[in-house]
Amino acid sequence: MATEGKPPRLALEGITKRFPGVLANDDVSFSVAPGEIHALLGENGAGKSTLVKIIYGVLQADEGRVLWDGEPVSIANPKAARRLGIGMVFQHFSLFEAMTVLENIALGLDHSFSWRELQQRVGDILKTYDLPLDPNREVHTLSVGERQRIEIVRSLLQSPKLLIMDEPTSVLTPQEVDRLFETLRRLAAEGCSILYISHKLNEIQALCDTATILRGGQVVATCDPREESARSMAEMMIGASLRDVSRKPGTDFGPERLRVTHLSAPGEGPFGVPLKDINLSVRAGEVVGIAGVAGNGQNELLAALVGEIEGAESGNIFLDGVPSIAAHVGDRRRDGMCSVPEERNGHGAVPACSLTDNAVLTARHRMELASHGFIRYGAAEKYAEQVISAFDVKATGPRAPAASLSGGNLQKFIMGREILQKPDVLIVSQPTWGVDAGAAAAIHQALVDLAAAGSAILLISQDLDELLALCDRIAVINGGVLSDMLDVEGISIERVGLLMGGMHGEDAAGNGGDRGEPRHDPLEEQVHAA
């Protein structure tokens, strides 16, 4: 909390930063008091990361000045920032996969050290802040929460006076988030200021003392997040009123359209997670969610379902009752299974190709965009145009290269490309990852409408809010194992969190008490009846 009479720990005055064609920061001013937890709130592209890079010395401001404890300073590089006492935990961790935790920590220090001394100090910090982490493990064996702890320990070793956290919770389980917040509150109580960057409003309300809201590079408001509603902050953030996803609670689902039985598949790449005996089913008109922390088999699940793992999978997949495990990717698409992978660039779309070409890539069977080995270019372009207008994609036209679109617009195009094919089954992974709130709302609405039209949707996401808003049932994937399905109505977030953290069976079930008696899965009955 701000102390009377003392200068703010960090103050920005009129910071302006231009990139070719973009004004990233426009006359931004705000200040952070010692021991304050200050939120920096804004959409993607609002200028948060540019601002933080200026504070951390990665970029230099074109205009304006930075004051540290009341003194104007120039921060030439991250080293200078660390010397002042600024620590930073990046959204994408700066970690070295093949090295140990301790080596990673050593690399983040500016001065030399003796191994023994470092080991001692790291051990002390882990104990003081009660952070579970084994210094001798190699990073690629760690969970995302543990990786983040490495970054935090790295920063704490420098005894920072200001700690910048860039979207720290986007990859954590609810329990890990709670643990992180405890650590942050403790640091703040010790006088360390925290600059907390996020677009998750409920977290900011739970944690922060002050919020500065950025939009289009400008400060649009500074407020006390506890006195604002999440909705009012969201509207300040996007500069428009928010549209709600309208969805009628589904009870009368159609027949089963997708059924997966005993599906197992090897992990992808050296750090992949093998799938173990996955069973699930999705009915017409239903949205089924797969929750879980990144890297627990989601990529493998999508790949196995759409047919990208050829020959290595066992078990079976039924599309409208037809066994499809042997069908190739293209055949499965033709038969009605469309998909949107997590990675837009390079997996969902070819960045260098035009939108028309990208439309042909997945829609050629169902929309008849190719015949006898030739592309029907006119039809393809028309289809791309149709997607662009139906999904309000901001692009110069169907000939625009996919790479020229912003993340949100490209995602809308990819979603539209699949949805307009009227798939029987749609499998989507992280549909709103890195997409702004406006586009996210449009994508959510499109998914709900598609389900209402009778498609079966499998939604893989790390965003619990998204899953709870859209899904009828949810299962959690952890270490390649899928939990039992939970009805979203009356679901216990705590239980989902425990499942995400890998607590299966007795423990997790015991905590699901607020759901009352575990209901008999209607699906099971249906299966037995069949």
């Binding site: 890079k53 590089n77 700066s94 970690l95 996969e97 983040g108």
Partner: protein, 308 residues
């Protein structure tokens, strides 16, 4: 087999192994920093001809050695400028460097063909090398001992020193290293220069120690073997030492088999053994459980552009 033959086998083996060990040590450090320099053969040839030329004109072999290292490093700087500063494709640039090195060494060496120089002096008194056992231990060129010292140094540098830790980190993830605040490009320049100097030294071994006489394409493709050796050793200095002597043994086997009149396997088969062994090792690395697969630096061969 008499002792004399055994000793001569060991000595030719060490002789064949040393230059590829020197060059491969340099390349190991380069690759650990995330750069793939396929110009090894070219830099070795440039080093070889420079060593010969300087020794021939000044009469000092040690001056020749220093010049060879400088020339190798200079040649590697062409590569570094193209690939690191201008972010050109490393594979294409490395191949071009090899072709360039072959041509340049032929051009410079034109007037030296068939000439001889007095090679590098031994460091141990000749008396020590009189008896056969003494010869196996003390009877080599100083470069042989240097290559052993350098192996130990590189092993220590990579695993024990802070600079080595940074270098490995940059090879693992240039982006992460950059965001922490390390100068990726500067470290890679230094690594490539070291690699060039070591390649020059390896080349000098051919023109000053092995055959103190100039002939066109003196290194005869050994640069490629050194490249294969780095992969064969899965980027570990001590395995590199073992691999170099193994490759050296295979290369000399050919000669000794011929000398002994053994004709069971065609010599061409023996000549291809090092490459075959490398393919086998690559296969083994690929089918190994995932934990051991990350032997190759993750950023090997990827261009790095510093962004915001």
């Amino acid at each position: 087999m008499t002792t004399a033959i055994l000793i001569s086998i060991i000595m030719t083996l060490v002789g064949a192994a040393t230059p590829i060990l020197l060059a491969a040590l340099g390349e190991l450090v380069v690759e650990k920093s995330g750069v793939l320099n396929l110009g090894l053969e070219g830099m070795m040839l440039i080093g070889a001809v420079t060593a010969f030329g300087v020794t021939f004109t000044t009469g000092s072999a040690s001056l020749g050695l220093v010049a060879a290292m400088a020339a190798g490093a200079a040649a590697s700087m062409i590569f570094a400028f193209l690939t690191l500063t201008l972010t050109a494709n490393q594979v294409a640039t490395g191949l071009a460097l090899t072709i360039f090195g072959i041509g340049l060494s032929s051009l410079i060496g034109q007037n030296f063909v068939g000439r001889t120089v007095s090679g590098l002096e031994h460091i141990f008194p000749a008396a020590l090398a009189d008896d056969p056992i003494g010869r196996v231990v003390f009877g080599y060129s100083p470069l042989v001992y240097l290559s052993l010292v350098m192996t130990a140094f590189v092993a220590w540098f990579l695993t024990r020193s802070r600079a080595g830790l940074i270098l490995r980190a940059i090879g693992e993830s240039d982006e992460a290293a950059h965001s922490i605040g390390y100068s990726v490009i500067r470290v890679r320049y230094l690594a490539v220069a070291f690699g060039g100097a070591m390649a020059g030294l390896g080349g000098a071994y051919y023109s000053l120690v092995m055959t103190p006489m100039w002939a066109d394409r003196l290194t005869a493709g050994r640069g490629w073997i050194a490249l294969a050796l780095v992969v064969f050793a899965s980027w570990r200095p001590l395995r590199l030492l073992g691999g170099a002597y193994l490759f050296g043994a295979v290369m000399t086997l050919e000669l000794h088999a011929k000398a002994a009149g053994i004709n069971i396997v065609p010599p061409e088969f023996l000549a291809m053994l090092p490459y075959l062994a490398t393919i086998v090792v690559l296969t083994l690395i690929s089918i190994a459980p995932s934990g051991r697969r990350n032997a190759a630096p993750a950023c090997l061969g990827k261009p790095f552009r510093a962004t915001g």
